[in-house]
């Protein structure tokens, strides 16, 4: 059996993903999140973990330096990487939404949309038949309409608290998001046995949780 390399997303999703794996019976190092080591081996599970920025997980998996990764659907939609999306882990649920200041209309000449997800945002508005101008930001997206940079934002919403606190309202929901298990196409074949075992154990755990 060869070793599986798994790319884990830092931050929000990490804890839920780690909890899910532990529920599936995998022994993870307790300090995986806080450890300063970037790559951690778990020989008894024949696994190797590394932590990456959530946006980068799919990149590592596409290039094959990680066999498997856990990534939000938002990342997969935005990055369009050539990877297998095998399993909906049903963790970290949230959604992508269009938001803005209340009772405002889109600028008619050049409606501006600020977002961390330019691909998703432009595809969404194109499908709606609206030509918009996308402005890419890397964080604090809520600031854009407040300061007058854009008419709307496209961003991830989990509780809606951040939007409310900044006096913004949701206009439309684009798509629901959960975390997914993604697999490199070559690993999917060359390490089929290891990956199938991993997927099956996770599937069972997810189904048990759904019943509970």
């Amino acid at each position: 059996m060869s070793m599986l390399t798994i790319a884990m997303p830092k931050g929000r999703i990490f804890e839920e993903a780690a909890a899910l794996m532990q529920e599936a019976g995998y022994k993870l190092p307790p300090d995986l999140d806080e450890s300063r080591k970037l790559i951690i081996e778990v020989p008894e599970e024949n696994m190797r973990f590394f932590l990456a920025k959530p946006m980068d997980v799919a990149t590592y998996v596409e290039h094959g330096v990680a066999d498997v990764g856990i990534a939000g659907k938002d990342v997969l939609l935005e990055e369009e990487r050539d990877v297998y999306e095998l399993l909906d882990l049903k963790i970290s649920p949230c959604y992508l939404a269009v938001a803005g200041l209340p009772d405002t209309a889109l600028n008619e000449v050049a409606p501006k949309i600020a977002t961390k997800y330019p691909t998703v945002a432009s595809a969404y508005f194109r499908e709606k038949g609206e030509q918009v101008e996308i402005i890419k930001l890397n964080g604090s997206i809520e600031l854009a309409p407040l300061i007058g940079l854009s008419d709307r934002i496209v961003d991830i919403v989990s509780t809606g608290r951040t939007l409310r606190e900044n006096g913004l309202v949701e206009y439309e929901t684009i798509v629901g998001i959960t975390s997914r298990l993604i697999v490199n196409p070559v690993s999917y074949r060359m390490k089929n046995e290891e990956i199938s075992t991993f997927v099956n154990r996770l599937t069972d755990t997810i189904e048990e949780k759904a019943v509970r």
């Binding site: 050539d82 196409p185 070559v186």
Partner: protein, 393 residues
């Protein structure tokens, strides 16, 4: 764009430095030798083709084509693969000769990269096309040759996945009825989005048995036994025929003695519309993307006005090199260093060694700044320097 610096190259373009060139040459020679020994004849076609002919017929996505204009305003493409140009030549000329045609190629192809680096936009492909033979013997031969080529290049850990487009099409047609709904599901497979596929199936207005059939389909991969599972999912003759083809071809691959490299993967959809029968991809340990792929494409030749069945494969030389890692440079160069007064002797020595098949470089010592670093990469050195007789190091 800021002013280009003199060392810069367009995105995805790569240089082949001497040591990589050597490795590449060996790999290509091994692969080409195998193809030639199976009776395939090599051909070359131009790098530029018309967008409306080869560009349009090619399996490569439009956004990946490099396009340019000629003086008359025609849109040209840098060939994105070799299959379409070969189909053009075959339809126009070669199919009038002897059929079936066994053609091989080793050439650079060009595909624009939208994203960041790490992916070549120009790379060499080596492959074969078998045109005008619709038998399963042709499918089996092409796959057996692919395995042989992989082995000849020195690769040991590799694997083929085999699928069949007509099985997928038939299953979807039976359950879903319309081409449009089939296409939606096929797109999920093409995008490798199994989560989306499952969600989509769950929301279709189908009986729970049919939903189960579609969900079960995703699990049809692995050894030959998955074909029996597949047979349970499908009714009628068209699907069974596709499965029979897979079984027959696998049997022939056993006769070739290469079946241990082959597994099945029925949900494999490597292109939305190009292939018409058996499809396959080949994977090697240590490379993140398939090193090659192929299959039956019976509709392509018809686009060039001469319908004929065809099958073939293409391998990416750069991925083969990646899978093989650094090959040791066994031969090396012998260096003959001379000073002016003993030049005649040195030339004679070099010529003697060259005639014996050695690679010999002849260097005037006066032209070298640092003898040690210059001779470092040579496997051995003979000096013809000063008045005394030559010495070896």
């Amino acid at each position: 764009m800021s002013k280009l610096l003199m060392f810069e190259k367009p995105v995805g373009m790569r240089d082949t430095l001497p040591h990589i060139y050597e490795t590449k040459r060996k790999v290509k020679e091994a692969a080409e030798g195998a193809m030639r020994s199976w009776g395939y004849r090599f051909i070359e076609t131009p790098a530029l083709e018309y967008y409306e002919t080869v560009g349009d017929a090619s399996a490569i996505l439009d956004r990946q084509l490099f396009k340019l204009l000629d003086q008359q305003g025609n849109t040209l493409v840098l060939r994105p693969d070799m299959t379409a140009p070969i189909a053009r030549v075959a339809a126009a000329k070669l199919l009038k000769e002897r059929v079936p045609l066994r053609l091989a190629y080793s050439a650079s192809v060009y595909r624009a990269q939208q994203r960041e680096g790490g992916r070549a936009a120009e790379f060499e492909q080596i492959g074969v096309e078998m045109i005008g033979d619709e038998t399963m013997s042709a499918d089996a031969e092409v796959i057996a040759l692919l395995v042989s080529v992989m082995k000849e290049t020195g690769l040991e850990k590799f694997q083929l996945s085999l699928g069949h487009i007509r099985f997928t099409d038939e299953l979807f047609r039976q359950i879903l009825g319309t081409e449009e709904r089939s296409e939606q599901l096929r797109r999920f497979l093409y995008e490798k989005n199994y989560v989306g596929y499952r969600e989509h199936v769950k929301n279709l207005p189908l009986s729970s048995i049919d939903k189960q059939r579609l969900l079960q389909f995703l699990h049809l991969s692995g050894g030959i036994s998955c074909l029996d599972e597949a047979a349970k999912l499908i009714e009628g003759s068209a699907g069974a025929e596709a499965l029979d083809e897979l079984r027959t071809v696998f049997g022939r691959l056993q006769e070739y003695g290469v079946d241990q490299y082959v597994t099945f993967d029925l949900p494999l959809v490597s292109h939305m519309s190009y292939y018409t029968g058996l499809v396959f991809e080949v994977y090697a340990d240590g490379v993140g993307a398939p090193v090659g792929n192929g299959g039956r494409y019976d509709d392509l030749l018809g686009k060039f006005g001469h319908p004929a069945g065809a099958t073939g494969f293409g391998l990416r030389v750069d991925f083969l090199l990646e899978a093989l890692g650094q090959l040791e440079d066994e031969a090396g160069v012998h260096c003959v260093l001379f000073s002016n007064e003993r030049r005649v002797e040195a030339i004679a020595e070099a010529q003697k060694r060259r005639a014996a098949g050695e690679c010999v470089l002849l260097q005037d010592v006066a032209g070298v700044k640092d003898v040690d670093s210059f001779t470092e990469s040579c496997k051995s050195v003979t000096f013809f320097v000063g008045k005394s007789s030559g010495g070896n190091v």
